[in-house]
């Protein structure tokens, strides 16, 4: 048992690939806990960031600056009575949230936090993720149908049509990114001589980007970026967020498919939604923004740059700690607030400690990959909230029109042009040869 445990540490394969099921279990638990913590954090960040966009404060009462709000929400949702509507179809009603959470989390086993930090490295990574995330639609339809009332029914039908139609656009954008993995040229416009073999595995995709010294977002500049843009739009529609949040449009359908849910079941839906957001933005980060690679790995190579970039995560945490101390100092000097200020000082101290640990050279190297990946996903989360604050909602038929008539043709176009761009040297050679 012990050697199985230590045996893996030296290998540079993912636990799944190395066949070490124990470590795979540990990774699964780590990811599950990590994503749940991420959902709690995201709950707080969404409320605060959305509030600041809207010139208000967001939760301030529960804990210093509302930090205990997610915990309060969780407890509230746990203790709230779990209502099942009278005419509801009990089994399907019960199964729907479980199904949605199931699909939400299983997509995460392929997400590459680092060269070896993924539960397993399937060679069909992307295809697996797309397949599982499209299963999530089934759960939503089940929820809508089982609630046996008008609004959820309409909400679930809408969201199923929406997710199906945006999956097409998403798939095509991904295909054009996969195609790029088969090129072997260097730099932004290098197409390379021999036609390499493309890969679907997430870790190989990042390796390909490392090999080509370019993030696919910048490959053949406008093409990569357009594909990334299409994916970004489709991913928002996939998770029913921001301009495309029609299924849960409060102003029309009250709350869409999860109207009749309450208490723990409702929180499962929220958990699944945030997990889905995490999964989809991790695909975007891996495919286009070079997974765990730090920015400018080649242009700014050399030890000094390596050192500088590896300090960034630690420095970031220290910055957060300073912010915490500053806010703790600014807390009102009220008797009742004293506990909260103490709590904030404590939190600031903990974050500072973690930041310092991250700066130790031994630790620094290991966590560099994970931190860069999480930062990129964090950027996408910020985008989600930003869109939600600014944009009005599309109407259902316009949403379909955008999905089919705008995204799909553009995605096809990008696909073809990338193909041609990738094969130019061979085409030239062929043309020269033929003449």
């Amino acid at each position: 048992m012990l050697d199985q445990l230590t045996g893996y540490l030296s290998s540079n394969l993912t636990p799944g690939a190395a066949g070490n099921s124990l470590w795979a279990l540990i990774y699964i638990l780590l990811i599950f806990a990590g994503v749940s913590f991420f959902v709690m954090l995201m709950n707080w960040v969404e409320r605060k960031a959305l509030a600041h966009f809207q010139i208000r404060l967001g939760p301030m009462r529960v804990g210093p600056h509302g930090l205990l709000q997610p915990i309060a929400d969780a407890v509230k949702l746990m203790t709230k009575e779990d209502v099942i509507p009278a005419g509801a179809d009990k089994t399907i009603f019960w199964m729907a949230p479980v199904w949605v959470v199931l699909t939400g989390f299983t997509t995460l086993i392929v997400v590459p936090f680092g060269p070896t930090h993924a539960v397993t490295d399937m060679n069909i990574g992307i295809l697996y993720m797309l397949g599982i995330s499209s299963l999530g639609v089934l759960g939503i339809i089940m929820a809508g149908w089982a609630s046996n009332s008008h609004y959820p029914l309409m909400g679930s039908l809408r969201s199923s049509a929406q997710m199906v139609s945006y999956e097409v656009a998403m798939g095509l954008a991904i295909v054009s990114a996969i195609m790029m993995t088969s090129f072997t040229g260097y730099g932004m416009y290098g197409a390379g001589t021999a036609a390499g073999t493309g890969t679907l595995s997430m870790i190989q995709i990042v390796e390909a980007q490392k090999a080509q010294h370019v993030w696919f977002v910048f490959k053949f500049f406008p093409l990569g970026f357009i594909a990334f843009g299409i994916f970004a739009i489709a991913m928002i529609a996939e998770t029913n967020r921001a301009p495309f949040d029609l299924p849960e449009a409060e102003s029309e359908l009250v709350a869409g498919f999860h109207t009749e849910y309450s208490g723990l079941r409702w929180s499962l839906f929220m958990l699944a939604e945030y997990a889905g957001m995490f999964a989809v933005s991790s695909i975007a980060a891996t495919l286009w923004l070079g997974g765990w690679m730090r920015p400018f790995p080649n242009a700014l190579a050399g030890p000094t740059w390596d050192l500088a970039f590896s300090l960034v995560p630690g420095a970031l945490l220290l910055l957060v700690a300073v912010a915490a101390f500053y806010n703790a100092a600014r807390m009102p000097k009220h008797l009742a607030m004293r506990i909260q200020t103490l709590g904030l000082w404590g939190l600031g101290a903990v974050i500072a400690l973690v930041g310092l640990i991250m700066l130790i050279p031994a630790v620094r190297v290991r966590i560099a990959d994970i931190s860069w990946f999480v930062m990129k996903v964090g950027f996408f989360m910020y985008l989600y909230i930003w869109y939600r604050a600014t944009f009005p909602r599309y109407r259902f038929d316009q949403l379909m029109r955008v999905g089919w008539k705008v995204l799909l043709p553009v995605a096809l176009g990008v696909l073809i042009v990338t193909g041609i761009a990738g094969l130019t040297p061979e085409l030239l050679a062929w043309a020269k040869g033929a003449r």
Partner: protein, 388 residues
């Protein structure tokens, strides 16, 4: 609730459905109840939608949840006592209700408010028009999905409410005017503060436009939705920004000026094809026009008394008059029948929202559920005024 054998809505309903279906709810139709407690019906309005999938076949509005019998109360209060009740009808534009009521009674007793009072009244009513349009813009954008304009508009509206509070003591139900003029002299620094607020507002209107006017999602959600042309508006008695957006250049402040509006020059924004986008543009332009009026009024506000000589115990001569003003929602009219006693014999109030809401069914037919919400928002109805 809706009995079975009768057709759902009115005569012409029968033609386009061919023979009447025997069972009330055959498979194609879904009766959806946008009930009184719906997030986007501005107040307690219940709309029964007959849907074919998402398309709206017909609507029926059930109102009366907020009916407080203002007209019956009007018959049992003296003229001065009734003024506070008027504020509670269109609670978003209380000052203009008060102005309508006071000018109507002044016309009845043939008294003219002194010029200074007229100027103060114009300033307060135009400020209230801006505040009312801001509430409309905030909630209308919220219905179509954009959450943030609501907070920006309400923050700017707060400045206006502060002025009201400083001037007459209340923010919403102001009861600022009395029959014959204004009750309060302007507090010192009133003109300076109004000017400061106008200067503060101008760039903020630009921001609303930047957030919404050119935003493609907003344009798509509002262009061509809920069309009404000029003649339909006139036939349905629709007034206010909704009428002006359909191309009819008619504004009571210009057509039949009251309370000194003829002294200010401002123009009336007019739309062309009377859809939700045009109504949005008309109201946004009206914001700028109101600012123009306020600046002119504040610049040359005359000195002098603020209350005309009106007997404490007011007994108007026997007779009846109809007087209407341009409220932010449309033409707000008062038909007062007096029998010479202390209390009006009949106090009829013609609410713009009640009549505008009638046009909902014609505008919404054939649209989707999401558009019903947008059209209710663009009609800018306030249920306090609809139900009286």
């Amino acid at each position: 609730m809706v009995d079975n054998d009768r057709d759902f809505y009115g005569q012409e309903w029968k033609e386009d459905r061919g023979e009447k279906s025997s069972t009330y709810l055959d498979a194609s139709e879904l009766v959806l109840n946008m009930g009184p407690q719906h997030p986007s019906t501005h107040g307690v309005l219940r709309v029964i939608l007959k849907l074919d999938g998402e398309k709206v076949l017909g609507t029926e509005c059930v109102i009366g949840y907020l009916h407080r019998g203002v007209e019956k109360i009007g018959e049992n209060r003296t003229y001065t006592m009734f003024a506070p009740y008027v504020d509670r009808m269109d609670y978003v534009a209380a000052v203009s209700n008060g102005l309508g009521y006071c000018t109507a009674v002044e016309k009845l007793i043939n008294v003219e408010a002194p010029p200074r009072a007229q100027y103060i009244r114009v300033i307060m009513t135009e400020l209230q028009r801006i505040a009312s349009h801001q509430v409309w813009l905030g909630t209308h954008a919220l219905d179509i999905g954009a959450m943030t304009p609501l907070f920006y508009t309400f923050r700017d509206r707060e400045e206006i409410l502060k002025i009201f509070e400083k001037y007459c003591g209340a923010r919403l139900t102001t009861h600022a005017f009395r029959i014959g003029g204004c009750q309060y002299e302007t507090y010192e620094g009133f003109e300076k503060e109004v000017k400061k607020v106008c200067a503060f507002m101008e760039p903020k209107f630009g921001e609303y436009e930047e957030l919404l006017t050119t935003n493609r999602i907003w344009v798509e959600r509002t262009k061509g939705v809920g069309k009404l042309n000029g003649d339909e508006c006139k036939a349905l008695g629709v007034t206010g920004p909704v009428l002006r957006a359909s191309g009819v250049k008619w504004d009571l402040r210009k057509a039949q000026p009251y309370s000194g509006y003829d002294k200010f020059e401002f123009d009336i924004p007019v739309g062309e094809n009377g859809d939700t986008y045009d109504r949005y543009m008309v109201r946004v332009k009206e914001l700028h026009q109101s600012l123009r009026i306020i600046r002119q009024a504040v610049d040359n506000i005359p000195e002098g008394p603020i209350l005309a000589k009106v007997p404490k115990v007011l007994k108007p001569p026997v007779g009846e008059i109809y007087h209407s003003i341009e409220a932010p929602k449309g033409e707000l009219g008062y038909f007062i029948v007096s029998d010479g006693s202390l209390q009006p014999y009949r106090m009829r109030i013609r609410p713009p929202s009640f009549v505008n809401l009638q046009a909902l069914d014609k505008m919404v037919r054939g649209l989707l559920v999401a558009d019903v919400v947008a059209v209710i928002g663009t009609l800018d109805i306030v249920l306090g005024e609809v139900d009286r």
